[in-house]
Assembly symmetry: C2
Homo-oligomer: 220 residues x 2
DNA sequence: AGAGGATAATGTACGCCGTAAAGCAAGCGG
DNA sequence: CCGCTTGCTTTACGGCGTACATTATCCTCT
């Protein structure tokens, strides 16, 4: 150990909370959530595991911070357009895109409430746009929630197996391919959706959602 | 040990995969996912941890089976109505209700692809109904996905903290209450949504989604 | 009926994990 | 120059998943 010859044992400023966070995200991206242990993260930073406890009180707190970092990054730089439909759509797609950049970490985001100030700022702006279009603020928040959650869950599940995988073959998979006899409609649908980009389903859902909202607008 | 005096050491039929599953679900419901260890589950069943490995090859496989059990239970008994809108709505709400019965386990469902035959059956039936209403099967599947995922993510996040919690007070919470100066629209919206039932937001989103779908139907 | 395998459980052990506690080297203010 | 604070290491503990070996019962076949 002490493979850093330029510094003695008690040097300062070797680590920072933010550097740890970034390293944790990189590690999880590369080797999965399971590889994200304190010891592993320590060696990744050239440091013993216990050193991390000088910057975070527990692993749980560290993971909370990772989620915060991620959500901040995901909701950053939202152009505040005045067209609520475009804003909402952009929010959903951008959120999704940012989350899918770190697919391994999405389950983490699910389990801890991540309310950062950047996050709140974006939601505030969206709720403002929507309210300005004549919706009750309560409704506006529901709308933002719906789109955000849809984007989120698509990010979480898009890496998993879906029907298209089953139909494409590879019968060593869990249940084998979907048989066209047992599930005719499903097989046809899955067959048709092979090869579509990952965002297709999300865009469809978000657009339908927004269409539904717009319809609501004209009948108070 | 061997607190069961009526049977010797190698008796059969002491355990079954299904009994283990139910016990695992009960344990996790009661004490959280963290308490669901092989040793703990073993003692819960009056058995050593390694005994479980005769019924499941690994803990991971056991968790997969738990998810399967859960999803099967959640999608069971869907009345196959011929009204696609009612069917879709019912599917979403029932799915959500079943999942929220085991809030601790929802994060588990997120991380493993759960495609059970019961599951496929329900989706098949829904896709059938929707196709019969004139939608392309591919679209029908997208619609089922959208509703299912919305229900799922609402179940996953409904136990977490949302904006209403912040506004209600308790400034010891992560960021403290939402300040009405910094986030006027958000504060108003959160204030207004205090006290609503948990399913309210989901119902709103599902209804909007279905309205959007229906609109699509009239413009091919 | 007796042999032999299959089955279901145990016991032991290994290498991970998160983290509490204590120690130890540098830098800094008095 | 002393001693406190800061950043890191060392050591240790209990719990985890599970590989491996063992044992005790039941089922089947001759």
């Amino acid at each position: 150990m002490t493979a850093r010859p330029t510094r003695g044992r008690g040097q300062h400023a070797g680590l920072s909370a933010h550097a740890i966070l970034r390293s944790a995200i990189r590690l999880a991206d590369r080797e999965g959530l399971g590889a994200l242990s304190m010891r592993r993260l320590g060696t990744e930073l050239g440091v013993e595991a216990m050193a991390l406890y000088h910057h975070f009180p527990s692993k749980d707190a560290l993971l909370d911070a990772v989620v915060g970092e991620l959500v901040t990054e995901a909701t950053a730089a939202q152009p505040p357009g005045d067209d609520w439909q475009a804003a909402l759509r952009g929010y959903g797609l951008a959120f999704h895109a940012s989350l899918t950049a770190h697919p391994q970490l999405v389950p983490l985001v699910l389990t801890r409430p991540a309310v950062t100030s950047g996050n709140l700022q974006v939601v505030e702006s969206l709720v403002g746009s929507i309210s300005a279009a004549g919706f009750a603020p309560e409704r506006a928040l529901d709308m933002v929630y719906a789109v955000g959650r849809l984007a989120f869950v698509h990010a979480a599940l898009s890496t998993g197996t879906d029907e298209a995988t089953f139909v494409r073959g590879d019968p060593t998979d869990r249940l084998g391919a979907i048989s066209a006899e047992d599930y005719p409609h499903l097989a046809a649908a899955a067959q048709a959706s092979i090869g579509r980009p990952l965002t297709y389903r999300l865009e469809f859902a978000v657009d339908a959602l927004i269409a539904g909202f717009a319809q609501l607008q004209h009948r108070p």
